[in-house]
Amino acid sequence: MRLALEGSQALARAVALCRPQVVAAYPITPQTHIVENIAKLVADGRLDCDFVSVESEHSAASVALGAACAGSRAYTASSSQGILLMSEVLFDISGLRVPVVMTCANRAVSGPLSIWNDHQDAMALRDSGWIQLYCADNQEAIDTTVQAFRIAESLELPVMVCVDGFALTHTLEGLTLPSQEQVDAFLPAYAFSRGLDSSQPISIGTLVSPDHFTEVRASHHNALLEALVEIPAVDALWQQMSGRGCGGLVEVRGDPEARVGILTLGSVLGTLEDAMDEYPDAPRARLIKLRAFRPFPVEALRQACAGLEALIVFERAFSPGGGGIVAAEVQAALYGHAMPRVLSYAAGLGGRDIGLDAYPRLMQALEAGGEGFRFFDLKPDALPEGGF
């Protein structure tokens, strides 16, 4: 049954269906409604869970880490500065291979202050060792959240579910929640192989000498590579059980035969899909949805890009002084494999609206030639004299 739900409200209910035993969070826009709704479910007695109100995101991540080590399914959520404040602990969670799930309600990073959406927060955690899955719509956010617990617990890796702030978290639409029976059948009871047990004491996270550190890192890396198999397998299983899949690692939409492509992460995909219908005279494009950014799906991406002459990487973040973050990785993945011409765009930064006309504008830019990094919808007149 489809329900009229705000994205955050739906996410809270999806998390509750996964029966977390500990949720620790500190509110921050645009994540607030997610944890507020979870707190309400706990307070109303509809979710049997310890909701730990903490004094900072650093503590939220620490509580989730401790709880997961002590044998509880643990969840947290944050955005922007909150993600950055958590970052020290996020490296601990992944480095210690602890299966925590968190929602990143994607938001721009200060300064200057912006509460609006882009992906700079999650991208800053690119090398934190977490799995990162980006959601194209709220239905995917619900379904990916359920899948995230299964992926996390089967590989003992933390999963960050990236959901566009406002564009998804604050959008009400018709959504389908899975039944409790479906989720119960999909998620085995939480078990952690190195769980803390006072009758058999062990230490987690102690000093590792140079004799072992490289192997610790290599096994973490290998586990992430294993996730390239696990993520699509879990998605396929969920599709079988619920009737809804999320596209595995990489999904091709738009015109799969087109020789030009646009690669995106997150919720801008739907705008581009509608735009292709609104602008039937514009050249057709292959729309490539990158769902898994970490691990980076090199092989799946090569297949999705096969036969492309030109590719736009349209991402909501960039590396200042460098350029496109995803674009650089895409180019590295395609190097030596019929490399298309790549245009790299930073778009929708700090919540700048990306309208339907983005599609014909991008197609025109492709026709005009050129390659490399640029800002989408930049107002050159608003830059300081000299450009900086």
Binding site: A4, F166, H170, T171, E173
Partner: protein, 190 residues
């Protein structure tokens, strides 16, 4: 696809208005989407919210720049540059407040006024114009039965508050001409 833009100030229930409208449409089996564009997060700051209602899935996430209808919760905002920008030809404005004939003539589109805040104070004891405006909007356009709005309020309010809202909806719906904007709706759907 019908696109609606709501303008108001923080605290007037702008986002709630958008959510109610979309919820009512979804509950009636339509496709709908509602979302806000916040400015500063404080009471009194201008807030914009968007609603799309369609008969097939809505995939776009961009703001509504060219709405078919505007709903304005604070009449002072009508005088703020940009608020009426992008209104589609044939579109119309529903606003709280008393008529301003001279000013409205300059807007170049039909304007319907409803004393929504006054009605809300009368029935709810609070100056929140959103429910009354939504009831009037549904009556003017006929896009959904007014009962759908009452049903959408169900999960959000209970008891006396819900009953007061129901009376407010009836009162507001009775103050505008049913189906007055039907033609504009038909044009938008064509």
């Amino acid at each position: 696809m019908l696109e609606i833009r709501i303008h108001g100030r923080g605290g007037q229930g702008n986002v709630m208005a958008a959510y109610l409208l979309a919820s009512a449409a979804i509950d009636e089996g339509r496709e709908a989407q509602a979302f806000p564009a916040f400015g500063a997060e404080r009471r009194g700051a201008p807030v914009t919210a968007f609603v799309r209602i369609a008969d097939r899935p809505i995939r776009r996430r961009c703001q509504v720049l060219e709405p078919h209808f505007l709903i304005v919760q604070d009449p002072a905002l009508l005088h703020v540059p940009g608020v009426t920008a992008g209104l589609k030809p044939g579109g119309a404005i529903l606003s709280d407040g008393a008529p301003e004939p001279g000013f409205e003539a300059q807007l170049g589109c039909p304007v319907v006024r409803l004393p929504a805040t006054r009605l809300a104070v009368e029935h709810l004891g609070r100056p929140v114009p959103n429910t009354a405006l939504m009831a009037a909007f549904l009556t003017l356009t006929g896009i959904l039965p007014v009962e759908a709005l009452i049903r959408a309020l169900g999960p959000r309010f209970k008891g006396d508050v819900l009953a007061r809202n129901e009376r407010l909806i009836e009162a507001a719906a009775g103050q505008v001409e049913a189906g007055l904007w039907q033609e504009a709706v038909n044009a938008a759907r064509a």
